[in-house]
Amino acid sequence: MLAILIVAFAVRASLGDPLREIMGEAVPEAERAELRHKLGLDAPWPVQLARYLGGAVRGDLGTSTIYKRPTLEIILAKFPASFELVLGASLIVLLLAVPAGIYCAVRPRALGARLILSLSVLGISIPVFLTGIFLITIFSVWLGWLPAFGRGETVRLGPWETGLLTRDGLAHLILPALTLSSIMLPLFIRLVRGAMLDELGHDYVRTALAKGASPLRVWLLHALRNALLPLAAVGGLQVGTLIAYTLLTETVFQWSGMGFLFLEAVTRADIPLITTYLVFVGLLFVVTNTLVDIVSLMLDPRVDLEGTR
């Protein structure tokens, strides 16, 4: 985290001048210099870093220059939107990739399996950005089934603003989640397929099938369970990639999440917000990776968490 911070502060000068965004273009340079000094932006970066750390100790991570509120507060307010988007995308990946992957593994030569695999190559090679625009054009402009942008109606549960509880909110979630999942879908179909093929080649599967167990039962209960292990590990690490891609998805759909916020902060040189975002995402990575480790331990029957053998 400290490393992230040091890098974030070292590159500050090349991120642009926030003053340009908070003052009109015709404003005299003297006025600009005065405000720059007032905001402490004219100090060398180690000094700024020290001031930032001083503030951080007191829970003050700086104030956004464009939103004029504490950066942490803004990011926390936007976090639910991104989380729900990632959740939606993960669900789609899970619901589509697992059956498709299994199908491709047990019927590797079937036409359907080949179709799925070639389509998934297509999915991985189209930029997310285009996928989003395609989906909007088809489902919003042509068919008029789904809304083109935004989160729709949201409900406030304490500090958490959710779009999952209203029909409108869910309708708004479908296209962005589909777009976001399009990057992960091909990868996961291949992963599931690979892992399953691997398991299906093992003796225990053949034995089970030979003794007359129903194939479905063997695939789902025996093989899949073992195949899930490497999947969970890889899947967890991909959550990070998913967060990175929310940037593009959220921009296309005007989705009010963290990724959108970050891109806005970068284009408008909101340096305090950029810094806090980087730190926050760093933290998110640490947390998800830890969780993944714990989950894969729980899935692995060889590891006994309680230490009783």
Binding site: D17, E21, E29, I136, S140, F149, V252, F253, L261, V266
Partner: protein
């Protein structure tokens, strides 16, 4: 029974229709939203657009740039330094108070304190309340642009913004960084009141019931304003019917919207000129007027306006757009490659030279592609351009450093007057006085400086326009810079939203007067 059903259904239908007529909601998507509700915090298009919704100016520009009385019902020149404005009677603020001359004076004084606005109001010495409904604006000397600047005076509710907020800070404070009372609360005399605001996501407004302008045809009761940054999404949202009104329209979607039967597209030339500045300090060759002239002759600005801007620009040979006092219709774009080559030869640069060029890639319409095209055109007269494009956040820093031989700048005159172009773009840079702040070419011509300063105190419009045109001609002949085009503004709306009457070249849609059928 049947009759009863009929009556009931008719009544129901009528009720629905009445409700439909009673609540007209405009859903609008713009590329960005204002950072603040405070009209004096930032001098930007978004701020001024919002000011026209929540506040009203003393006077404003009509579509043809003539002056329309608003809160001031009339104005007259008292002497060469004083202009008298008479306010309308009984104009209500959104807080319920009645507008008086004191509010105007208070607002004027606050403008003089604003870091962003005070330079504009530098020529003024004071605003004086003559009586309850009469205000005199007094300038330090004779000043020709009093009316142009009066369009910036959006009277604020003096009582509403006085005192301290719950955290003990003065409500009138202009805070550029961090929250302030005025950036989140507003009481103006404007047609709309803020009901909900989530910055960057949503701004909801409802019509102010006691709005003074009863003659306004406007029938919009509610505005839901959503910024949509991504141009393609903005267009899709309009076509899908999720929003009623969008701006701006990206050049790539113009054809699509023109064909769409659901929507109306309106474009018009703006007053923003896009130009390149040639740095004479960095590139000695640019000191030679023949080289500069050759570059002007080498750039096919008509071609750029047509092919790259797809008609969303008017090729320019000068800075002042049509309608401005300094505009001279005779100063047309010059494109003549043979002449350009001849001039290069004459100047002794037949084999050309290398030069750096910088341009932003997210500031002006198609900015990076325009720069690429110009670089390619200059290559034809053997000027080898090393082009670097970057996001605006980084670009302005490089611009201030005058980091390249050729730099792109788009400029819009805040005063809607030609002299503003000369003061910022071509006058000899002078840090103390602020002249030439955006003159990255270090172009310096004493005659231009002298004439521009002279226009600042000329109140005879005709004579002043003549001097402005003379300056424009001098710049043209001297090829002081490389003007490309005036960008166009673009709006699109569903057919039932009649935007034609309320949009204008200064890009301040007067939504208070908008009619939805």
């Amino acid at each position: 029974m049947r009759l009863f059903l009929l009556v009931a259904s008719v009544a129901l239908f009528a009720a629905c229709a009445a409700q439909g007529a009673a609540a007209k909601t405009l859903r609008m998507a713009y590329d960005s939203d204002p950072t603040s509700l405070d009209p004096h915090e930032q001098l930007s298009g978004a701020t001024l657009q919002t000011s026209h919704l929540l506040f009203d100016p003393l006077i404003r520009f009509r579509q043809d740039l003539s002056i329309e009385p608003r809160l001031a019902k009339s104005f007259e020149t008292i002497d060469e330094r004083t202009t008298r404005f008479r306010l309308r009677e009984g104009v209500k603020f959104q807080s319920g108070r009645t507008l008086s001359a004191e509010d105007v004076v208070w607002t004027f004084n606050r403008l003089k304190q604003s870091p962003d606005f005070k330079a504009l109001f530098e020529p003024f010495s004071e605003a004086r309340a003559v009586d309850g409904l009469t205000v005199d604006l007094v300038t330090k000397g004779p000043y020709p642009l009093v009316l142009n600047l009066a369009t910036y005076i959006f009277p604020m509710d003096r009582a509403f913004y006085s005192g301290v907020d719950e955290r003990g800070r003065p409500k009138a404070a202009i805070v550029k960084h961090g929250a302030s009372f005025a950036s989140t609360h507003a009481s103006g005399t404007g047609p709309f009141i803020v009901t909900e605001r989530e910055q960057g996501m949503r701004l909801k407004l409802k019509r102010f019931a006691e709005y003074w302008d009863k003659d306004s045809p406007g029938n919009v009761d509610e505005i839901v304003f959503t910024p949509i940054k991504e141009p393609a999404t903005r267009v899709a949202a309009l076509l899908a019917g999720d929003v009623d009104f969008i701006a701006p329209v990206p050049p790539t979607d113009l054809a699509r919207l023109k064909q769409a039967s659901c929507c109306t597209l309106i474009t018009m030339p703006s007053t923003r000129v896009l130009t390149f500045e040639l740095n004479q300090e960095r590139v000695p060759a640019f000191k030679d007027p023949r080289v500069r002239l050759a570059m002007v002759y080498a750039v096919n600005s008509e071609g750029i306006a047509g092919k790259i801007m797809r008609g969303l620009a008017t090729a320019a040979g000068q800075l002042s757009p049509p309608g401005y006092a300094g505009h001279d219709p005779a100063l047309v774009p010059r494109y003549d490659l043979a002449k350009a080559k001849a001039l290069m030869k004459e100047a002794g640069y037949e084999s050309g030279f290398s030069v750096t060029m910088m341009a932003p890639n997210n500031r002006y319409i198609e900015d990076a592609r325009v720069a690429e095209a110009v670089a390619a055109m200059l290559a034809k007269i053997n000027i080898r351009v090393d082009l670097q494009t970057m996001p605006k956040a980084q670009y302005w820093q490089r611009f201030d450093e005058r980091a390249a031989g050729i730099m792109m700048i788009g400029w819009q005159s805040d005063t809607q007057d030609s002299a503003n172009f000369y003061e910022f773009l071509v006058m000899t840079p002078d840090k103390d006085k602020g002249y030439g702040q955006y003159n990255a070419g270090n172009y310096s011509n004493p005659e231009i400086d002298r004439l521009t300063l002279q226009t600042q105190s000329m109140t005879d419009r005709g004579a002043r326009a003549e001097v402005l045109r003379k300056i424009e001609r001098l710049l043209y002949d001297d090829a002081a810079l490389l003007p490309l085009h005036w960008q166009h503004l673009s709006w699109a709306a569903r057919n039932n939203v009649k935007i034609g009457a309320i949009v204008n070249v200064i890009d301040m849609p007067y939504l208070g007067d908008l009619v939805i059928e």
